[in-house]
């Protein structure tokens, strides 16, 4: 491909990217505006919390134990080299509370609930259900989008905390029960090391931000999907990809800012 054409293509791509970002931002503003105004759709919100939160419990808890177990294993083997095996509780706890809990939960939830959310909205678009709502003078952003997004934002910190607790338990199982570490040290170093403001609040804040990101991305991809079956699956997959990358990138910035 000749350089001039390549450059033109690159330019077009960049402009398209900026334009998409702008559309996304405008969409998000409208979604939030619809969400914070009455009517409050409590019934739909409850249903959506069930779909995003309750249905994600199994994957979050199992993964939490697994990740905690690995941390326990890796942590123990590494700390033993420095004679600091008693610090395992602190290592597992801090890793989970500050980083792995919020980040991994967000990735899991984006994959499970985020893609489902985008696919559901996209298929509603294909079957004209969204237009049907518009013709009844009901705003689909308010009726469909806002409850889904809000449910995701509320569920994320709860799920992240459960992931963390199950992880700490997993670390205990491996580090203490299997590898013979000292249970007292595990718990006391954990308690000593973890601070409420820096660690717990920081972790919850991250989970909240990730929840917002996944929610906005999933609803956006759903609403702007191409009205076809291919469009539905594209909405789902692109949600997972974009939401995952957004989680990881914003993780850096939040970590840097929260720790000043």
């Amino acid at each position: 491909m000749n350089p001039a054409a390549a450059l033109r293509a690159l330019g077009a791509r960049s402009i398209a990217l900026v334009r998409d970002l702008g559309r996304f931002a405008l969409f998000s503003v409208r979604l939030v505006a619809a969400g914070v105004q009455p009517p409050w759709r409590a019934r739909r919100l409850i249903r959506e919390i069930y779909d995003s939160g309750v249905l994600s419990l199994v994957i979050v808890c199992i993964s939490g134990v697994a990740v905690g177990a690995v941390l326990g294993l890796q942590g123990h083997n590494t700390l033993v080299r420095f004679g600091a095996a008693g610090q395992l509780g602190a290592v597992v706890g801090l890793s989970l509370i500050r980083e792995l809990g919020p980040v991994l939960t967000s990735l899991l939830v984006a994959g499970r609930a985020g893609s489902a959310m985008a696919a559901e909205i996209a298929s509603m678009k294909v079957t004209e259900q969204l237009d049907g709502l518009r013709m009844m003078s009901v705003d689909p952003l308010d009726f469909v989008g806002a409850p889904k997004a809000l449910a995701m934002v509320l569920s994320m910190p709860l799920l992240a905390t459960l992931f963390t607790l199950f992880g700490i338990f997993g670390g205990y199982l491996v580090g203490v029960v299997v590898l013979g570490g000292d249970p007292g040290s595990y718990i006391s170093t954990l308690q000593d090391a973890v601070r409420f403001t820096e660690d717990v609040v920081g972790g919850l804040l991250k989970a909240g931000v990730f929840g917002v990101l996944v929610a906005l991305i999933a609803t956006y991809r759903g609403f702007t999907a191409h009205p076809s079956s291919a469009g539905v699956s594209a909405a789902a997959t692109s949600t997972v990809v974009i939401a995952s990358v957004a989680t990881l990138v914003s993780d850096y910035f939040i970590t840097a800012l929260w720790g000043y």
Binding site: R47, Q129, D131, G132
Partner: protein, 254 residues
């Protein structure tokens, strides 16, 4: 009470990419009558219907309601107000598949009216009876047959007693007996309620039977007028209906 709407399209133009879908389209949909929008596939029938529903905007032209406001210029609030007077039956019914049929049909009342649950129930059952639905309250849309989906969609469109009823391909995917039944239902609705009805259809037989007013979209423009008159006097109309009869029979049946 119903104040049926009259719609006049003036010089509508709409291009998608390289395809010219509409070019200076002008026609009238008379007050209180059943108008059928016919034409070959891709002629812009559904597009015109969606423009009247304010779901899309034409590139140029105007859509006047009752000779006054132009639909293409309305702001969001005015569009909402207009839509309160309009009921739309979508091709697939467009019922929310996570809600029961009852909740679907009750939705407009729950959203817009101050009625209590008991009154809403009465209204929903009244309209169920009008469209010939029975014992479907707790079913999900996915559990309904094709004909029942159309009836339920029609029930939802009618529950707020609209002045304008838009139907997108109401006969698609139905067997001939059901087509007749839906046809009769629509004519009944028009007679009892008096709303202006706008139907897009491939179905030449039904069109012949039910349309007071016909708008035929052809490549070189639109032909519109009283159905019987057109069929007798306009060669293009007669030709369209003659040659569409055979493929239509094969197409109209599910």
């Amino acid at each position: 009470m119903a104040k049926p709407i009259e719609i006049e399209a003036q010089g509508l133009c709409y291009t998608r990419g390289s395809r010219v879908i509409m070019n200076q389209l002008s026609c009238v949909f008379p007050r209180g009558r059943i108008s059928v929008l016919a034409g070959p596939s891709g002629s812009g029938k559904t597009t015109l219907l969606r423009m009247i529903a304010c779901l899309i905007r034409p590139d140029q032209g105007a859509l006047r309601i009752d000779g006054e406001a132009d639909l293409t210029e309305l702001g969001l609030g005015a569009v909402r107000a207009f839509r309160r007077r309009v009921g739309m039956l979508f091709q697939g019914g467009a019922l929310l598949d996570s809600m029961s049929v009852f909740d679907n049909v009750a939705l407009p009342l729950r959203e817009h009216s101050e009625l209590g649950e008991a009154e809403i129930r009465d209204e929903v059952h009244r309209v169920f009876e009008a469209v010939g639905l029975d014992s479907v309250d707790a079913l999900l849309p996915g559990q309904l047959s094709g004909g029942m989906v159309k009836r339920a969609g029609l029930a939802r469109a009618l529950i707020e007693k609209p002045d304008l009823l838009l139907c997108d391909e109401p006969f698609s995917g139905l067997d001939p007996p059901t087509v007749r039944r839906i046809e009769e239902l629509l004519m009944q609705v028009n007679q009892s309620g008096g709303a202006t009805m706008l139907i897009t259809s491939h179905h030449t037989e039904s069109t012949r039977r039910m349309a007071d007013h016909l708008v035929l979209l052809l490549d070189d423009g639109a032909v519109s007028g009283d159905t019987k008159a057109l069929l007798q006097n306009d060669a293009r109309v007669a030709e369209f209906f003659a040659e569409s009869t055979s493929p239509a029979l094969a197409k109209g049946a599910p």
